[in-house]
C-alpha cells in the first residue's frame, strides 16, 4: 500500500523540527504550559481532564479484567462464550469502551501459554486493565517479546518448561487481547469475588501465573 505523502511537509515542519525539540526541557513544565494555553483558548476544559484522571484512578483498572476471569473460572457456559466471542460475552459487564471494543480472550493451559505485546506502539486493553504498566510501553518489552518470549518471561520470574507452547500476540490492529490465566489448584472452596482478588494484572497480560492464596498452595 503506497500512502500519499501529501501531508509530509507539515509533519516535517512541526512534528520533527519544532514540536519535538524546541520546548521547555522539563516535561512537567511544558505539560503545564500546554494545559494553560489550551484552557485559555477554550480547547480544553480542566474539569474534563480531572474527570479522565478520576476515571482511570478509580473506575477503569485491572479489577475489571479480574471480574471477567473469576466469572470464567466458576461459570463454564460463560467461559465458552468468552473464548468464542469475548466482545459479546463481556458486554453485560459494561466494560466495553476505548481500547476495549473488539476483544479476544486467550486461555492459558498446562500446554499453551499466551503473552500479549504491541511492538509498534503500546496497544493495551485499557478498558479492562486500566493504565498500562511502564515496562509494557518501554522498548525492551516491545522489542524482545516476539523474538525471545521465554527470556522475557524469565525476567518476570516465570520459567516455562519446553513442553509448553508459547504464543505471543502482537496487537497491531484494534483487537485487544486479554489472557485468561489458569485457575490455581486448591481454590475450589473460594467464592467468585474471592477468586477475583487473586487475579493480577500481570497474569492477564501473560507475564505471570495466578497463585493460590497462602496456605492453599499445592
Amino acid at each position: 500500500m503506497t500512502a500519499s505523502l501529501s501531508d509530509h511537509p507539515h509533519h516535517h515542519d512541526h512534528a520533527r523540527d519544532h514540536a519535538h525539540s524546541d520546548v521547555p526541557s522539563d516535561p512537567a513544565v511544558r505539560t503545564k504550559a500546554l494545559e494553560s494555553l489550551l484552557t485559555e483558548k477554550g480547547l480544553v476544559d480542566p474539569a474534563a481532564i480531572d474527570a479522565w484522571v478520576d476515571a482511570y484512578e478509580r473506575k477503569i483498572g485491572p479489577r475489571r479484567g479480574a471480574q471477567i476471569v473469576a466469572r470464567a473460572w466458576v461459570d463454564a457456559a460463560f467461559k465458552a462464550q468468552l473464548l468464542q466471542d469475548a466482545t459479546r460475552a463481556i458486554e453485560p459487564f459494561g466494560f466495553l469502551g476505548r481500547e476495549a471494543q473488539h476483544l479476544v480472550v486467550l486461555e492459558n493451559t498446562a500446554a499453551i501459554h499466551n503473552l500479549v505485546v504491541c511492538t509498534l506502539c503500546s496497544c493495551y486493553p485499557w478498558g479492562l486493565l486500566g493504565l498500562p504498566p511502564r515496562w509494557y510501553k518501554a522498548a525492551p518489552y516491545r522489542a524482545r517479546s516476539v523474538i525471545d518470549p521465554r527470556g522475557v518471561l524469565a525476567e518476570f520470574g516465570l520459567a516455562l518448561g519446553d513442553e509448553v507452547e508459547v504464543r505471543v500476540w502482537d496487537s497491531t490492529a484494534e483487537i485487544r487481547y486479554l489472557v485468561l490465566p489458569e485457575r490455581p489448584a486448591g481454590t475450589d472452596d473460594l467464592s467468585e469475588p474471592a477468586l477475583a482478588e487473586l487475579v493480577t494484572r500481570d497474569a492477564m497480560i501473560g507475564v505471570a501465573k495466578v497463585e493460590a492464596p497462602k496456605g492453599k498452595r499445592a
Binding site: 503506497t2 512537567a28 480547547l43
Partner: protein
C-alpha cells in the same frame, strides 16, 4: 514507514524492568496524569483520528523517540496536531499563553461527556462489500512492502509465511486513515507465524507469534 517505533525483534535495549504491580504507582509523576487527560479531552483538528495520532508519534526523530517517556510522546503528538491544524502557534506552545487578540472557542469536551466518550469511542469494525480473500487455516505470506507512510505491517513479518487463525471481518485501514484519506475498510486477520519462520533455525520449534494483518498486507502462499 521503517521507523524506530517498529521494534519487534530488536536487540540492545536491555532487560525488561518489571515493577511489582502491588506497589507500582499509577503515575510516575503528576504531569503524566494531566497529559493523559489533555490527550483524551482536547479539541483536535477536523479529521484527526487514532491512526494519525500513531503516525505523528512515529515521526518523532529516533533519538527523541527513544529518550522520551510514553506520556511525553503524547505531549509531542498533541502539540504537532495543534500546530498542523492551525489551532495554536509555536510561540503560544512555547509561552503557554494565547496570543493577544486570538479567538477563544467554547466547544471543548466537558467533564459530563467523559463517560459517554469512554463508552462510545474506539469502534473500528466496518462493513466490507467484497468477500474475504482468505479463510481460517489458509497459508498466507505477508507481503514484502516498505510504505513510507503509516502502516501496521511490522518489518519482522514481511516476506514470512503464516497461517490464518482468525478472520475479524472489516476494520478501518490505518494506512489510509492516518493520512486522512478515508477509512477504506478491509478484512482483518490474525495470522500465526512459527518462531522458526520468523527468526530462523535457532528459534523455538514450538512457539509462535500471532499478528493482526489487513488483507492488502497479505498474499496467498
Amino acid at each position: 514507514m521503517n521507523g524506530v517505533h517498529d521494534m519487534g525483534g530488536m536487540h540492545g535495549h536491555g532487560p525488561v524492568a518489571p515493577e511489582d504491580e502491588k506497589h507500582e504507582p499509577l503515575w510516575h509523576a503528576p504531569w503524566e496524569a494531566r497529559m493523559l487527560g489533555i490527550t483524551r479531552s482536547m479539541t483536535y483538528p477536523k479529521g484527526f483520528n487514532i491512526d494519525r495520532f500513531r503516525h505523528i508519534r512515529e515521526l518523532m526523530p529516533p533519538h527523541l523517540y527513544l529518550a522520551r517517556s510514553y506520556y511525553d510522546h503524547w505531549y509531542a503528538v498533541c502539540v504537532a496536531a495543534l500546530l498542523n491544524g492551525g489551532l495554536a502557534t509555536k510561540e503560544e506552545i512555547k509561552s503557554g499563553h494565547a496570543a493577544a487578540g486570538s479567538a477563544k472557542r467554547n466547544d471543548a469536551a466537558r467533564a459530563d461527556q467523559v463517560w459517554t466518550s469512554q463508552k462510545t469511542q474506539g469502534i473500528f469494525t466496518r462493513e466490507v462489500a467484497t468477500p474475504p480473500q482468505f479463510a481460517t487455516g489458509q497459508r498466507v505470506r505477508a507481503r514484502n512492502i516498505n510504505p513510507t507512510g503509516h502502516t501496521r505491517l511490522p518489518r519482522y513479518v514481511r516476506g514470512k509465511v503464516g497461517v490464518v487463525q482468525i478472520h475479524h471481518g472489516g476494520h478501518v485501514f490505518p494506512d489510509t486513515n492516518a493520512h486522512v484519506q478515508g477509512e477504506a475498510p478491509q478484512h482483518l486477520y490474525t495470522v500465526a507465524f512459527s518462531m522458526r519462520e520468523l527468526w530462523g533455525a535457532d528459534a523455538s520449534a514450538r512457539d509462535e507469534t500471532c499478528v493482526d494483518l489487513w488483507e492488502s498486507y497479505l498474499e496467498p502462499a
